[in-house]
């Protein structure tokens, strides 16, 4: 690592905005990760321990509760991904750009 680069890194490191960004984004990413893990393992453990619930008829027909639940897990993966990308590509990237612009001045 060059001296110049080290100075830049030190500047970013001492920027309160950087710590704010990292704290917010890391918390956001971990919350969404845990949510995904909870949804998925909630589904799998229901299958393992209480599969009768999923086999119940949804609206009196042959379609069972398990069908919308399974599709719901697939959809939740997409929705969580979308939520993260929307916030990261707008708000987080804006702050990141700010931080780097300050350093490059």
């Amino acid at each position: 690592m060059s001296i110049d680069n080290q100075i830049m890194v030190d500047r970013i490191k001492n920027d309160p905005q950087f710590h704010d960004l990292v704290r917010k984004r890391t918390a956001f990413a971990w919350i969404l990760s845990l949510l995904m893990i909870a949804i998925y393992f909630g589904f799998v453990l229901t299958v393992a321990f209480n599969k009768e619930i999923l086999g119940k008829s949804l609206m009196g027909g042959v379609t069972t509760v398990g069908i919308p639940v399974g599709l719901g897990v697939i959809l939740s993966a997409l929705v969580l991904t979308g939520i993260y990308v929307a916030r990261a590509n707008a708000a987080f990237d804006e702050i990141t750009k700010n931080i780097i612009d300050k350093v490059n001045k």
Binding site: M1, N5, Q6, M8, V9, I12, K13, F18, L21, V22, R25, A29, W30, L32, S33, M36, I37, I39, Y40, F41, F43, V44, L45, V47, A48, F49, K51, E52, L54, G55, G61, V62, T63, T64, G66, I67, G70, L71, V73, I74, L75, A77, L78, L80, T81, G82, Y84, V85, A88, N89, D93, T96, I99, I100, V103
Partner: protein
Amino acid sequence: MRSQSFAKTAILGLAFAGLAIPAFADAVAVAGTAAVNYEAIAMFGVFVLLTLGITKWAADHTKSASDFYAAGGGITGFQNGLAIAGDYMSAASFLGISGLVFANGYDGLIYSVGWLVGWPIVLFLIAERLRNLGKYTFADVAAFRLDATPIRILSAVGTLVVVLFYLIAQMVGAGKLIQLLFGGFMGAISGGALVGSEYLTAVVLVGILMITYVAFGGMIATTWVQIIKACMLLGGATVMAFLVLAKFGFSPEAMFKKATEVHPKGGAIMAPGALIKDPISTISLGLALMFGTAGLPHILMRFFTVPDAKAARKSVLFATGFIGYFYILTFIIGFGAITLLLQDPGFFKAGAVAAANGSFDPKDMLGTGNMSAIHLSKALGGSLFLGFISAVAFATILAVVSGLTLAGATAVSHDLYASVIAKGRASEKSEVHISKIATVLIGIAAIFLGYLFEKINVAFMVGLAFAIAASCNFPVLLMSMFWKGTTTRGALIGGFAGLISAVVMVVLSPAVWEATLGHPAGSALFPYDNPALFSMTIAFLGIWLGSVTDRSARAARERAAFEAQYVRSETGFGASVAGAH
């Protein structure tokens, strides 16, 4: 007995196989050889010509190492999303999941779900940091502040082992699929005596095409082959699902109703069945599916083909959308096969006996249930559509092996040759040259191993690959990025411990020790079918323990260097920019 063990291996294969073929070996051996389908051959020929044209174009645009390994960073988020989906939607997903739904109904959906939920995790924790820190391989990230030589050896070993196991599984599957789909055609072009068998001709053909794509066209060609194939597969599956639903007036309820009437398992196909066993195996499998994806080298490599972290994120969003949509299609296709094929003797073996209501047992299908999607295409659109779907299935295999080969070749040239052997003094030109040689060698090894292991349990190879990805590559990558305390010693101890324990536990599991190696039931030392829960724990503990006990000067330097890595991984400041040339 045979069909029972097949059912078991198929289920296991599906349980693990994000990208590979479940036990087609058994499937096709039972099926024998079908009549030659000239439409399929013609359409496959068009695909090969088109992709070779792209390879030629890509070769003209491949000038630097960045072009060869990462398509010059010039792939957009949308394109990369399609390419990632292409890497992930293998013939196993298409034929395997629809076959599982065909045989068991709802259970197929449980596995689809497992393969999808790894993607959000890749996005939240891995994708953008990987893009910010690395250049061509995930080893770049792990070696960012750790001692490059040993860390790159570890990463290259992890990469090559995963790639080789996957390649063998794909080659065996490809050979068997072609044997079934293209009938005597392969025998005809081989002249019978030239290479000896249709199977070998098919494997050699796949090997030669994949070497051509990768060696001449590098990542640019590989990406575009992947994108074309993803579009073909999504398009073909969409048409199939549409035609199925159209038969029931677009009412899923009507389709499910008919399915429960004709399926031997009746209403049970609408609920979870017997595929999920004890909670430990279930959790272990869930971990392997979720985190194995985040350790697959050919998937991780895709994040370096986009210009920045923003595009890396978008690619995961698109990939998740495409893959999720595709899994829903396969579910409909599986139910379509139940409703449209089960009472048609034309799709079942000669000796199969129908039940009182005229339904056959899914197990008696020609080529087993794994071929249900292929048969369904014929029922829906005649031999022309059958030809198209067959060509799609083959293109799928071809694209997936190309991605794997490129990842393996990059580990050899970029990690082993340029960093370990030449100590960073290699020129870009010689590095790419070595990569091309490695491509040819890996291709030849894949042909040879594919031939040698014609009879191997494909599920075993794939299970091993996924378990190693989750237990070696993923923990090393995650800990080096997130934990300041990670040292070279810790990463080496944890990485190798995870790798070795995963291999040992898979070999000692009932699926391999008893079902594959033929030891008596109950003699397996490791009672669960999936090692991830244990081997991942060992890997993470190994990294932690090896690091905290490391008092060397090197370890102190590595901890001190975390800050700079952290700043770069979080902001992209100083990240490798697209188009180094």
